[in-house]
Amino acid sequence: MKKAILALEDGRTFDCRCFTGSGESGGEAVFNTSMTGYQEVLTDPSYRGQVVTMTYPLVGNYGVNPEDVESDRIQVSAFVVREYQDFPSNFRSKGTLADYLKGQHVMGIDGLDTRALTLHLRNSGAMRVFISTEDPDPLSCVEKAKGLPSMIGLDLASVVSTRLPYRWMQNEIFPIENPARALTSNIWKHRSRLRSVVAFDFGMKYNILRCLEHSGCEVVVVPAATTADTIRAMAPDGIFLSNGPGDPEPVDYAVQTIRELLGYRPIFGICLGIQILGLAMGGKTYKLKFGHRGANQPVKNLKTGRIEITSQNHGFAVDIATLNPDDAEITHVNLNDRTLEGFRHRTLPAFAVQYHPEASPGPQDAQYLFDEFTRLMAGR
């Protein structure tokens, strides 16, 4: 295995190894505390532009398989673990993690004190990182880390969003050619049986689509920049706002669109979706010190008083204080740091959560939200 250097923008460096050959990579360094689900993490578009460290030291144990993917490609810029496991054992495994990463030219790094790295990010906050097997000089690696673009102000949603709209049926994608003509109210094939849902793709995880389909929705996924008029032309029963990577503020075009659509149809947002809805309702977002990334975040449902153990992946959040209490009712809060986890519009049919009810990876305690969405559409 080739020696590598992992360099953080603040000058801290780690000697490590590359278990996928050689190369260079960089992005925002973040850590994820889930003990399972590395393949879902790798393919989650919300990780676009990030170098993800798993805090659980042994990764690769159960290999990779064709089913456990959340998008059509690996999204992380690089993947960092304590000890890569090259001998997978699981009845569904189709190959090793290393080959999977190699196949998509994503660097896999191991052999470093990932707990030290995690502690550093916890104390100093998420920051840019540069990894190289080519440049043996730590100092110049640090310089290269400094040279990387910052997450703030970066519109990553448009980068990961689908170019063509598509239908989602039984785990399959059916692209919709020449959207200009196709995206009308005639696009729905099962209006009578199923709820027609337009899903904005800011970095959609497949499992959200599986969940929507499971709770009786016919889903058409549209690009992030789709206009309000197009949506109206489609006359759906409901509008879904997906998760996605990075900073919501630069996604102002979508914020504008949603502002126009507020009240037109029931709206449900997840992750980046709640941030866009929040901005559309006049709130502000801010960057968390090191974000929430894991599968054990306790969230309290203020309506029921019940606790949901949730899967999360976000670096930005809606500032509770900036939401107008007359419009927004806080429905969920994070029990660890009391940050906003969910709200709904008091008068209009719109609600959203910051965490991931579709889980994958993580606990499925909150999947009831998808049914709430369909109920909201039904109640219309």
Partner: protein, 1068 residues
């Protein structure tokens, strides 16, 4: 919801004595519960018959009843204390069963007592196999197909539709005896028959086998708002078929994708809801088919368990404490997470290390039983180890086991001749306590992972990990002692000990360490924080690993390090943990920082808030020295953790570590025969004639000079390991070989065996100038039966005052001569009014907790303060305290777990635990001890007596007493004749060897209620054997010693005279 205010007094049921499958983990959970409830302001009433527990310390509960954990006793306590609620889920299966029986007696309604934690219906739903099946069916989960049979035809027909192999589980047997796996019709006939008559209600359950499936456990918590969290997932390295308690287990699960894990998580939550465990912790076991992922529910325990103790230590999440708080009405989001301080208990711990639990067996103590593992648990203890890789954790765990190994191999302790392919395959195919080592042999012999998997069904992922260790071993060996810095670092990160590296590179432990030092290859300490570093950790709970960043926060306070006892095993159990915990409490009282080092996850000592700092590490020289070098303590306490730390004292001392209290050279003087003899001589004390031998020839010579019978044993072993009374040269020869094998580098000790001597145990405390006797215990059984196995009485009941004075004088003289600072234990034998010294242990003994509870003097705490320089005078201990009430300690034997061993007691310790009985008179106290030990005492019926000639006069006394209080007598011919000649009528019955109908038939026909049988001469040994096994199987009280019988007669008389009363420790 805040805590309940409608209840204020809560009764906690403890687990009773330590037995196989119910170890000191229930002291850990019970202690946590007591603390939690007291800190919430509840009045806590506790019942537990086990004096060696921390939970039975007088200040842990408001009322502490050291009484038999039986429904009757609990009923009496309820009547006396009128608690508002009973919390039954922290005392293991015993606690649960007792609670159910109490409920069935109608006690709860009668006194308006509420059951909290788990309701009776939910307990039944979980425990009753049929109800459980229905419940699982209701929520769409599968459990193995099964059927109940009460005769062989039913067995066959059930087997016919389930198919082979098939699991046979007798209903209501002790410890699953009579159960097993049938692979064909023949096995079935054999095992099912055995099972049927092993079962008290001649009933067996036949269950579809899922042998070889992957086994998992989830630890789950639920509050009454129906919030549920999973605390920990555990994957068994050994597949289904090996009891989880006998399996090497790993946390978290290693080979499940998130999809499969979530499926299991959802199932566990659904099960808790369906069973209706409204609050607290539960444990759910699953089996997963390795090729299809099909999931089966094995069982669920609606209570805290061994695994929840493990899960608590593995994650830092205090399950029992939280369970107790949930039981009184809190919800998870109202209880803070002590470890982080800033977050709440309503989350799922995530860990960033790998945890390995390895069972500790003691097959060496039961040579008659085969070393193989199956569905009934056999291990007596366990170690836990933490590493950043599985390989590191596994090897740390193996060297924590106290079996003389320093890793999986290459430690110089491998069998001289590499095992043959045949031996290897045999040891892989049939699970056994050595299998993990044979995995290495197999790989070294070039067996591929596939074929090893075929034989073991151990997941290939684990096999590959071991392959990596084997490869590393190879690399180290090839590197020789010019081993490079990078390889050295890798080796350490793979868990290799310096001893392994030394023997692989032909170097010495010392040299390897120096080389590492020079190259900066040193361990760092990382925190167990429940959250993988996402939040700041408040509690300093550490493990070592070989990485770059050290998180040990070394304070500049005065600190003292306590070395724990490691895994529980026969001869060294909870008693020593009790002492370590007290040392820690004493240090706190003295304002000194306490640092605990231990590797046993079941204990209170490894609870994160027992000491100021906890290092969860192996107790080897290397690992301990690393901690010393990091913490630089003012001193180290080695005399509380039993033989494990005691054996480290000299090495540590040589390495310049300050040892507190009695110094190593004194320890040597007590342990080294020659030095010891010199000392006794100097003090004019006598010991049984003796000599030492390093060869068979010498041994025979020595025996000739001192005369048979003699006691043979190796030096430096605790628990009378490999020790035997031999009557003739041939026995001596065969045994000497064994003894030399058990402890090669130490001579064999040969003592004159004192027949019919009274044994006395003495615990004393000394500050270097003054010595105070903590307690003198007179054994019930005669010398020759290991002190750990014989019942004893405090204060002595038959010894003459002169003897007691002599004992006191001798003890004080030895303490002074050895200048003991701290605790000392002496065992004496008294024969025809002369006092023999058997042995002196300059350390805390097994009896310290018992003595402390009997006398109310916290010896271990005081000893700690003395080690810190205080005097007895300053501590206010100036005179012996001899209580007016009688305390009896009785040992608890694991024989029901080992179907084929003889139950005769001897000089080799075999008991796993002890109970205490307290009362005003010997009879009642002894009765309580017997009941506590699970011995049911008949008040009338027939007593069977069969004794060797020497014992007949004594037996006559017993016979007469029992006869006079209304017992009928049954005897074998010789005994019967003797009785008849002395005017006691008895019905004579055949010995088994004579022919049927014989005594065992009589036992089966329930014609015998009590058995007195002292070991026959060898010719009829088998007879006694059959008899004693039958007694175990049919749970008929028996005693194998006259002394025991006499005491039992006293007890029966006492019980006939008056109903046993209950009284709390605080009232004595």
């Amino acid at each position: 919801m805040p805590k309940r205010t409608d209840i204020h007094k809560i009764l906690i049921i403890g687990a009773g004595p330590i037995i196989i499958s119910q170890g000191c983990e229930f002291d850990y959970s019970g202690t946590q519960a007591c603390k939690a409830l007291k800190e919430e302001g509840y009045e806590v009433v506790l019942i537990n018959s086990n004096p060696a527990t921390i939970m039975t310390d007088p200040d842990m509960a408001d009322r502490t009843y050291i009484e038999p954990v039986t429904p009757e006793t609990v009923a009496k306590i309820v009547e006396r204390e009128r608690p508002c609620a009973i919390l039954p889920t922290l005392g293991g299966q015993t606690g649960l069963n007792t609670a159910i029986q109490v409920a069935e007696m109608g006690i709860l309604e009668k006194y308006g007592v509420e059951m909290i934690g788990a309701s009776i219906p939910s307990i039944r739903k979980a425990e009753d196999r049929d109800l459980f099946r229905q419940a699982m069916h209701k929520i769409g989960l599968r459990i193995p197909r099964s059927g109940i049979a009460t005769d062989m035809d039913q067995c066959r027909s059930i087997a016919a539709d389930i198919g082979f192999p098939i699991i046979i589980r007798p209903s209501f047997t002790l410890g699953g005896t009579g159960g097993g796996v049938a692979y064909n019709a023949e096995d079935l006939d054999m095992i099912a028959k055995a099972g049927l008559d092993a079962s008290m209600i001649t009933q067996v359950m036949l269950e579809e086998s899922v042998l070889g499936w992957k086994e998992y456990e989830l630890e789950v918590m639920r509050d009454h708002n129906d919030n549920v969290v999973i605390i920990c997932s555990i994957e068994n390295l050994d597949p289904m078929g090996v009891h989880t308690g006998d399996s090497i287990t790993v946390a978290p699960a290693q080979t499940l994708t998130d999809k499969e894990y979530q499926r299991m998580r959802n199932a566990a939550i659904a099960i808790l809801r369906e069973i209706g465990v409204d609050t607290g912790g539960s444990n759910v076991q699953f089996a997963i088919h390795p090729d299809t992922g099909e999931m089966i529910v094995v069982e669920m325990n609606p209570r805290v368990s061994r695994s929840s103790a493990l899960a608590s230590k593995a994650t830092g999440y205090p399950i029992a404490k939280i369970a107790a708080k949930l039981a009184v009405g809190y919800t998870l989001d109202e209880i803070p997470n002590d470890i982080t301080g800033e977050t709440m208990a309503s989350f799922e711990p995530t860990i960033d290390y790998c945890v390995v639990k390895i069972p500790r067996w003691t097959f060496e103590k039961f040579p008659e039983t085969q070393d193989y593992l199956t569905t009934a648990m056999k291990s007596v203890g366990e170690t836990m180890s933490i590493g950043r890789t599985f390989k590191e954790a596994l090897q740390k765990g193996l060297r924590s086991l106290e079996i003389g190994r320093y890793g999986i191999g290459g430690d110089g302790k491998d069998p001289a001749a590499a095992p043959t392919r045949g031996e290897i395959e045999q040891h892989l195919a049939t699970p056994n306590s050595k299998r993990i080592f044979y995995l290495r042999h197999a790989l070294q012999r070039g067996m591929d992972i596939r074929s090893i998997y075929e034989l073991t069904r151990i997941d290939p992922w684990f096999l590959d990990q071991i392959r990596q260790i084997v490869d590393m071993e190879q690399a180290i060996a090839e590197s020789g002692n010019e081993i490079s810095q990078s390889l050295l670092r890798e080796a350490k990160a793979t868990g290799f000990s310096d001893i392994q590296i030394a023997s692989l590179t032909g170097s010495s432990e010392h040299a390897v360490k120096n080389r590492r030092r020079a190259q900066g290859v040193l361990p760092v300490y990382k925190l167990v924080d429940t959250c993988a570093a996402e939040f700041q950790a408040a509690t300093p709970y550490y493990y070592s690993t070989y990485e770059t960043e050290n998180e040990a926060r070394v304070s500049d306070r005065k600190k003292v390090m306590i070395l724990g006892g490691g895994p529980n095993r026969i001869g060294q159990g909870i008693e020593f943990d009790y002492c370590c915990v007290h040392a820690s409490f004493a240090l706190r009282e003295e304002g000194i920082e306490s640092i605990m080092v231990n590797s046993n996850p079941e204990t209170v000592s490894t609870d994160y808030d027992t000491s100021d700092k906890l290092y969860f590490e192996p107790l080897t020289r290397e690992d301990v020295l690393h901690i010393v070098e990091t913490e630089k303590p003012f001193g180290v306490i080695v005399q509380f953790g039993g033989q494990t730390p005691l054996n480290l004292s000299t090495p540590l001392f040589k390495a310049g570590v300050p040892i507190l209290g009695t110094q190593p050279e004194s320890i040597d003087r007590a342990e080294d025969r020659k030095l010891f003899q010199a000392m006794l001589h100097k003090l004019g004390l006598i010991q049984p004639e003796n000599g030492t031998a390093t060869s068979v020839a010498e041994a025979v010579a020595v025996a000739e000079t001192i005369g048979y019978p003699v006691v043979v044993r190796p030096s430096y072993v605790l628990g009378g390991r490999a020790m035997k009374i031999v009557y003739d040269p041939s026995e001596l020869e065969s045994f000497t070989l064994l003894a030399i094998a058990a402890s090669p580098d130490h001579p064999v000790l040969i003592d004159k065996f004192l027949e019919d001597a009274i044994e006395v145990d003495v615990d004393a405390i000394s500050d270097g100038t003054a010595t105070i006797i903590g307690g003198i215990m007179e054994h019930i059984e005669e010398a020759g039966i290991h002190s750990g196995d014989s019942a004893c009485v405090l204060p002595p009941y038959s010894l003459k005052p002169e003897i007691l004075e002599e004992i006191t004088r001798a003890t004080k003289a030895m303490a002074a001569e050895l200048n003991v600072i701290g605790l000392m234990n002496v065992q004496y034998a008294v024969k025809n009014d002369s006092l023999f010294v058997l042995e002196v242990n300059p350390r805390a003994s097994r009896t310290i907790p018992f003595v402390s509870k009997a006398t109310g003097v916290p010896l271990a705490k005081l000893a700690t303060k003395i080690m810190l320089g205080k005097t007895l005078k300053a501590l206010g201990l100036i005179t012996e305290k001899v209580p007016s009430h009688i305390s009896v300690k009785e040992a608890v034997m694991p024989f029901n777990r080992f179907p084929d061993v003889d139950t005769l007691l001897g000089p080799e310790m075999k008991s796993t635990g002890e109970v205490m009985g307290i009362d005003e008179d010997l009879g009642s106290a002894y009765a309580k001890a017997q009941l506590g030990a699970g011995q049911n005492i008949p008040l009338d019926g027939t007593v069977f007596i069969s004794v060797k000639d020497r014992d007949k006069p004594g037996a006559l006394i017993v016979a007469r007493q029992l006869y006079e209080i209304g017992f009928a007598l049954m005897t074998t011919r010789g005994t019967g004749l003797y009785f008849e000649n002395n005017g006691i009528p008895s019905r004579v019955v055949n010995k088994v060897s004579v022919g049927r109908p014989h005594v065992v038939d009589a036992i089966m026909n329930r014609e015998i209620q009590l058995i007195l049988n002292t070991g026959f001469g060898n010719e009829t040994k088998r007879d006694g054997y059959h008899l004693r096994r039958a007694a175990i199987k049919y749970n008929i009280p028996y005693t194998t010693t006259l002394a025991g019988a006499l005491a039992l007669a006293k007890a029966i008389a006492a019980m006939k005279q008056k109903d046993l009363s209950v009284k709390s420790l605080q009232e004595y």
